[in-house]
């Protein structure tokens, strides 16, 4: 049974689901359909995190993105135009340039993660993750670095979000 490459098989299934969901999200004309495709992508990403041994990140991915943020998106789409087809905002040739820039950024990221010398995946991250999960359990492996080594950036991000919330409330309260 150990010879059977179950993890690889599952990786192919979820990776193609993620890519397919991403493609479906950009190509659908119906906003609700593209939103559901995006949820599929998030779900598949979470499954890939599980295959990598990062259970906690997978759970947070689904709780925060698929379960909360996308529901709010769905809410907004339904309230604004009830999910009927709409005209694209992308007119002219600008989006081609934007698309190339985005593709270039993604390509650079992939090169940095896999190809470049000293990339993340070549540093034996898998053993590190397994060791810290063994030592501090799935949540502790994230919590200890976050609340000890990176406490200042963490608090700064919190303040950033607070500022955004206050700004949104201010804008919404203004009499138009």
């Amino acid at each position: 049974m150990t010879d059977f490459p179950l993890t690889q098989l599952l990786w192919w299934v979820f990776a193609s689901m993620a890519v397919g969901g991403g493609l479906g999200m950009v190509t659908r004309r119906n906003p609700v359909a593209s939103l559901l495709f995006l949820v599929l992508t998030f779900f598949s990403l979470a499954a890939i995190y599980v295959l990598l041994g990062a259970h906690f990140i997978a759970a947070i991915q689904i709780i925060v993105y698929a379960g909360a943020i996308m529901v709010l998106f769905l809410f907004v789409i339904m309230l604004l135009n009830l999910g009927h087809d709409y005209q694209s905002d992308l007119r002219g040739g600008v989006w081609i340039v934007v698309g190339f820039v985005a593709a270039g950024t993604v390509g650079w990221f992939i090169w940095q993660s896999f190809g470049a010398p000293g990339a993340v995946l070549q540093r034996g991250g898998e053993q590190q993750i397994a060791a810290s999960v063994e030592q501090m359990n799935a949540v502790g492996a994230i919590a200890y670095p976050l609340f000890r080594d990176y406490i200042v950036p963490f608090e700064l991000v919190g303040i950033l979000l607070l500022v955004a919330i206050i700004g949104a409330v201010l804008l919404a309260k203004r009499r138009v």
Partner: protein, 433 residues
Amino acid sequence: MHDMGALTGAPWLIAMLIKVLVVFFGTMVVVALLTLMERKVSAWMQDRLGPNRVGPGGLLQPAADGLKNILKEETYPAHASKLFFVLAPMLAIGPALITFAVIPFAAPLPTPWGLVDMIVADLPIGILYILAITSLGIYGIVMAGWASNNKYSFLGGLRAAAQMVSYEVSLGLSLIPIFFLAGNVTLTQIVWSQQQELGWWYAFPLGLSFLFFVISAFAETNRLPFDVAEAESELVTGYHTEYSSMKFSMFFIAEYSNMVTASALMATLFLGGWDIPFFTFDNMRVIAPGIVEGAEPAWWKTLLTFGAFGIKTLFFIFLFMWVRWTVPRFRYDQIMHLGWKVLLPSALAYVTFMAAAILTLDTLGVPFDFWYGLILTGVNLVPTVLFLVLIDRDRVIGGTAPAARRSGPLPQGITATRRPNADANVERENQEA
């Protein structure tokens, strides 16, 4: 330490398969019986007989209902997107059926091939898995409301989405004090902490958390008094108005299996899971495949602990029904008020308070045992009583409720209520008679 041998190879695969099938069919059978129990309990509360024609005492009623639902005509609303309309019940029932996987339901069972732990998947993220999967269940309801091309359904779907997102926050916050005490998020560790390490069921040292969790679980499962998404008297039946036959039934199966999972979860988190109180013969946990810490596993212990788990779960299921047939539906603004302005700040304050209390006890060097739990139970009484007094707003405890209702004008928009001088009228009628 007891080395019972680890399951490997084919026996492991067969044991997993049996566990999955038993849990799946067990949940489905319990769900079917719950539809009967719901009607029997409501009949009992309203002094009726309930269904009693099919089978002995109406026991075969669920089978008759299922058969009827399969044979009914399937209808599709006009001008609705059929794909989403069909997809919605599947999105509702899928998450509802897989959440039970991480709940341990009995003590580990020794077999000739090795030790079988009574949990489908002991994930390292435990309870977070349940939170994640249940948050996906919203899509089914929202899609159903949207795809039905019906204003009432749509309103029901929107209400469900807003309500479930709101109460997820307080649900998550009410879990945090548990993690303080258990030190991990896996449900096996939470059970072990309650039966052995602390020796107290968390309902006692974390009473207010328990209250918050029960309220939020009612809202998350869309049960009365939080069933504004269905709300027969306002929205026909909300998001499933347009559904017929088995697709309608699938929403019901989803709701009931969510109820079973929520009840099992409440029993596991706050009433010790499969722990039998006042006895130590069942206190054991699996620390590695096949290796058990604490008491020695035996088949009769598995059976007894499974019974304890069943009784606790059934108690919460009965609580769900009890509340449903007792309390009227909340108004929508009341639900939002309770979620965002009462539960969220209270749960946040409680997390801070319990964190301070636990940190103080740890700093003082109190050993983590019975006395630790007793002190924490006493400390916990302070915020619990404070919360109950504050939320009561001087009504029941202060004893001012009837007087407040009689004096002053009625709130705007409320017509069908007790008239301010109703008692006086009754008295006058009595005198005239």
